[in-house]
């Protein structure tokens, strides 16, 4: 069951996203119209919105889909939530398998950083993460502490991610960026673990 239908759908979706990204990169997120994208991708507007629910989602694919709550939920017994998350990001920094197409990723990041709407849209996506994480953490401690931990953790993760991405956009190689990310991860989790003392 190779599925001609499936293949065509995937292909269409990729074409739309690629066309959109190109136009956004050329002329900025706000000045490109959904109609233009649909026309350039040779689909009807209605079809475009069947693949991507919003204009933002054309750019924010895969952003903020980390499942921090899941990582904490399945950690081995005896390991603290913070240890589990630290290990996860350590592993990622050691091998940042970040995307198939590095150039496309950088273009995507540039477009996001250039548009306040997209930046705060990316920010938004952590909001659900935060609540899910708080729910998992609340199984072992009181609700407010869980909420505060979740808030601090998601905010920290967002910060080091953004730093990592900015280095890539600034031209760092994947190896270089990964090496510096490894340092940042330790700093961030040390700060979470031991607090702000200065």
């Amino acid at each position: 069951m190779a599925g001609l239908r499936e293949r065509k759908k995937e292909q269409t979706q990729r074409r739309i996203a690629a066309v959109a990204l190109r136009l956004f990169a050329e002329r900025g997120f706000d000045t490109v119209t959904i109609n233009e994208i649909a026309e350039a991708a040779e689909v009807a507007k209605v079809t475009l919105f069947k693949y991507f629910p919003t204009k933002e989602s054309l750019v924010l694919r895969g952003v903020g889909e980390e499942d921090l709550a899941g990582i904490v939920a399945v950690r081995p017994p005896g390991q603290s939530p913070l240890e589990a998350l630290r290990a996860h990001y350590r592993a990622f920094a050691a091998d940042p398998a970040v995307a198939v197409d590095r150039d496309a990723l950088i273009t995507q990041l540039r477009v996001i950083f250039d548009s306040p709407a997209l930046s705060s849209g990316a920010n938004d996506r952590l909001y659900g993460q935060r609540q899910a994480l708080a729910r998992v953490l609340a199984e072992e401690r009181d609700g407010l502490t869980a909420a505060l931990m979740a808030a601090q953790i998601t905010a920290s993760v967002l910060t080091i991610q953004e730093t990592f991405f900015r280095r890539l956009v600034a031209g760092a190689s994947l190896e270089e960026a990964g090496r510096r990310l490894a340092e940042d991860v330790e700093l961030a989790f040390d700060l979470l673990e031991h607090g702000i003392n200065r």
Copy 2:
């Protein structure tokens, strides 16, 4: 210079906001139309948008305008940023001079909590705060540490604020909510200062 003009403007603005809040409370943020609000407030749509730049801003007046960066910037010498902020929220908890009209505040909060768009809009407003705070903190430490501190602090502040507001909406008196807020402030800042150890 009493200013008839000024008085009328203020009055119109208040009328629009009040009408909007009432309609939102009755029927939900999403199902009320800007045209309906304008009509009910007896102004033209264009006039409404002269007073409130967006539909969201009809509800989110005064939300997320805390100026954390300012509090840190003007703290007395020798005091740490965290001490300054803790003192600020301690003082607020001791005397939560929260609004002239308690009922209106609670209605406003209910409307916000009921609408995901408004909740994340409120969230968004902390984003600028975060960056401003990071800039101030970066004067005395490296950029990433400053960014991480700012992220943790704003996230924590948002969390205790939300807890406070939810208690008010749930029916707590201002005194009761203030008392519990005082405890929460200590917990939140202890966590920030000493880290997550469990």
